[in-house]
């Protein structure tokens, strides 16, 4: 379901249900983009008043496991939790968990 909301009601995590274009029909932001604070700020600066958002889609267990497996594939080098790659992997897995939890 799409609904139009004023940009002032937009919140990070909401998903754009319709691409944002400028008056020359140039795509500024594609449909399906999850909003971030930065993006909302930018839209507000561009004097965009209303946007279409989608109700948050749940991440299925399968999607979660597939994403997790892809992350594991990227990190085959040996490292410990304090190394740079170790920290990045922890941060990524935390990010994935939070996406799963919030939906």
């Amino acid at each position: 379901m799409k609904e139009s909301i004023p940009i002032t009601d937009a919140e990070p995590g909401m998903v754009l249900a319709k691409a944002i274009t400028n008056d020359k029909d140039m795509t500024l932001c594609a449909e399906g983009t999850p909003l971030t604070e930065d993006l909302i700020d930018r839209f507000a600066q561009m004097e965009i008043d209303n946007i279409y958002i989608e109700s948050n889609k749940e991440m299925s267990q399968e999607e979660y496991l597939a994403l997790k497996e892809r992350i594991e594939k990227r990190f085959v080098a040996s490292y410990n939790a304090n190394s740079l790659l170790g920290k990045i992997k922890i941060a990524l897995l935390e990010h994935l968990e939070s996406q799963k939890g919030s939906s």
Binding site: L16, I20, N22, M26, T27, L28, C29, A30, E31, G32, T33, P34, L35, T36, D38, L39, R42, F43, Q45, M46, E47, R70, I71, K73, R74, F75, V76, A77, S78, Y79, S83, L84, L85, K87, I88, K89, I90, A91, L92, E94, H95
Partner: protein
């Protein structure tokens, strides 16, 4: 292990250097560069002169106002763009836009990767409170310019390289070195020198896979290399999910990010990458 060298380094370098004469590099840029050479040109005068060129003006304004390049937004004049981005960043942006326009569709992931690395470079520079963050963004945008040139100028040979890297799970740049005798960072360095970009942009582009090698600008190289690693880690590599290589220790020294900062950066760039993936370069360049 013997491998056939399929491109000759010297003749390919010559080819790369001659690219500046090809129509792919706009004569707009020549004008831009000529004007820059005159130290007496003030930013306002320069902006005014540039504004006379309709094509260049619309191109610049379109680029700087695109949500994807993440520039400060709602920039309505060229002088404004110049003040906010600086000459060097703006010049790099124009170059990048023209180069990426010629990218074949199979190499679009390279453009998605480059724009995301640009966003990540800016985000890291901002996180570390560094000055001139737009220059970091442009260095990020152009860091794989050598790959773009390989895709456009030697597509068949380059396909061999990519397939080999996927088979052996070796980093692409090392595979390039083994097969071609030079890698995309070398090409990036040649072409940036040819375009007379300043060292602060040339060095991060030319050394992003060997961040300890240059004598100066270590911080700038480290930011771009770190951005490249972060973008690959979220699945934004230009060539599928190749394993991440262990980064040079200099990265952590130059760019000391905490776990919390890394998490924040990932949260910022992951959604941008997801939405970029749906676009082709010409839609926003």
């Amino acid at each position: 292990m013997e491998k056939e060298v399929i491109l000759d380094k010297i003749s390919f370098r010559k080819k790369v250097e001659q690219l500046s004469n090809l129509p792919t590099l706009p004569n707009l840029l020549d004008k831009f560069t000529r004007m820059l050479k005159d130290p007496k040109t003030s930013m306002a005068a320069f902006g005014k002169e540039l504004s006379k060129d309709q094509m260049l003006t619309s191109k610049i304004l379109k680029l700087v106002n695109s949500a994807f390049y993440g520039f400060p937004g709602r920039i309505s004049t060229v002088t404004n763009a110049l003040v906010l981005l600086g000459y060097d960043a703006l010049k790099g942006l124009i170059i990048s836009s023209n180069i990426f326009e010629n990218l074949p569709p199979e190499a679009y992931p390279l453009w998605h990767h480059s724009v995301t690395v640009s966003l990540a470079s800016r985000a890291i520079a901002r996180e570390l409170s560094l000055p001139d963050i737009e220059e970091f963004a442009v260095a990020g945008l152009l860091h794989d310019i050598g790959k773009v040139i390989l895709h456009v100028e030697a597509s068949e040979e380059y396909r061999t390289v990519i397939n080999q890297a996927k088979k052996t799970k070796q980093p692409v740049w090392q595979t390039e070195g083994e097969i071609l005798g030079f890698d995309h960072a070398n090409i990036g360095l040649w072409i940036c020198e040819e375009w007379k970009l300043p060292k602060k942009l040339t060095i991060p582009i030319g050394y992003h896979h060997m961040p300890a090698a240059p004598k100066e600008y270590h911080m700038r190289v480290a930011v771009v290399t770190m951005a490249d690693i972060l973008v690959r880690s979220i699945g934004g590599g230009a060539e599928d999910d190749l394993p991440l290589e262990t980064p040079d220790p200099i990265i952590e020294v130059q760019v000391p990010l905490t776990l919390k900062q890394i998490r924040k950066l990932i949260e910022g760039i992951a959604p941008e990458f997801e939405s970029l993936k749906r676009l082709a370069p010409k839609e926003i360049n």
